[in-house]
């Protein structure tokens, strides 16, 4: 019985170490490796905006701060919208600042969604900002961005 207790304590110490690990990661996050947005991203954003202002509000982008593997990073997007025929989200665009193709996907909603919500898994080529831009039925554009630190980039095969 005593032995079991000691072993438990060791297990806890190991777990504590693994729980503390993300803290050191966060310290590295004021990220000197962050690159400026790619020209491809800026171009895609300009085409999407088509002269309209993109305002930072109404959209919530839930993206892991730390992506263990860039091959699949699951994100969630919520937009504050009544989702009525008169006022709803028409399309949610996901844009990447550093992927070889800036647009990751487009999700077209209707008032029948009830809620402006979508979740999917994306590829991230490297540590970067991801943008979720919501296009409303009145044509206005709203966005949120989030940074994800990518431990292992998409497209590298480690066997």
């Amino acid at each position: 019985m005593t032995l079991v207790r000691v072993d438990r304590r060791q297990a806890l110490a190991t777990l504590a170490a693994s729980l503390l690990a993300p803290v050191t990661v966060r310290a590295a996050e004021s990220d000197p490796s962050m690159k400026p947005p790619s020209a491809l991203y800026l171009q895609a954003r300009t085409v999407l905006a088509n002269g309209r202002e993109i305002r930072t509000a109404r959209v919530t982008l839930d993206l892991p701060r730390l992506a263990e593997n860039g091959n699949s990073v699951t994100l969630k997007i919520d937009v504050a919208s009544p989702m009525t025929a008169a006022d709803h989200v028409r399309t949610i665009h996901i844009l990447s600042e550093q992927n070889p193709i800036a647009t990751i996907g487009r999700f077209h909603l209707t008032p029948r969604a009830g809620r402006a919500f979508v979740s999917t898994s994306v590829r991230l080529a490297t540590t970067q900002n991801v943008h979720a831009i919501a296009e409303m039925s009145d044509g206005s554009l709203w966005e949120a961005q989030a940074e994800s630190v990518v431990l292992i980039a998409a497209c590298i095969d480690g066997g």
Binding site: V25, A28, D31, P32, S33, T127, V149, L151
Partner: protein, 175 residues
């Protein structure tokens, strides 16, 4: 600082012993090089002879001068030395550095270039249980994959380049 030094000097006599055998073996193989038609792939022929004194290899491999800037690239490169998988270096632009080996910040202050060279070449001579791969050894290895057979992880020039860069890391502080 003293503690770090102490942990490095545990197995010095054994290392010195192993060294004599090694020097002999390398000499024999180098002799083989002179034979006509000697295969280029033959194991140790690529290795420069070296002598271990205490816990150090005083002379540069093949007498090559090291280039610190090239050494820095080798240390940081995943397909080169891939040192950051286990070690930290005082380079802020590299995220997620390793934590298995000693922090290399200040290594140039703690160790001489000759001591660093020995640890790169084959740390297992000082510490049999070490995780540090032998970067300049081709014998007594098991099941080496074909592309790497008979080849050290780094060649003599690369070892000297890495030694040169690590020797510049005198400051314990991290940027």
């Amino acid at each position: 600082m003293r503690a770090a030094r102490k942990s490095y000097s545990v197995a010095v006599p054994a290392a010195a012993c192993a060294n004599k055998r090694r020097t002999l073996a390398v000499g024999v193989l180098l002799g083989g090089l002179l034979l006509p038609g000697a295969l280029k792939t033959a194991a140790a022929e690529q290795l420069a002879p070296f002598e271990i004194v205490g816990d150090a290899i005083p002379l540069a491999l093949d007498g090559l001068p090291g280039d610190a800037e090239r050494g820095r690239v080798i240390v940081l490169d995943r397909t080169g030395g891939n040192c950051l998988i286990c070690h930290k270096v005082p380079v802020a632009s590299e995220p997620f550095q390793g934590e298995l080996g000693p922090d290399l910040a200040g290594v140039g202050g703690r160790l001489t270039a000759a001591q660093i060279r020995q640890r790169l070449v084959d740390q297992s001579r000082l510490d049999r249980a070490t995780l540090m791969p032998p970067y300049y050894r081709v014998d007594n290895l098991t099941r080496v994959a074909a592309p790497f057979q008979g080849k050290p992880v780094l060649n003599a020039q690369q070892i000297e380049d890495v030694v040169a860069w690590l020797a510049t890391l005198k400051d314990q502080e991290r940027p």
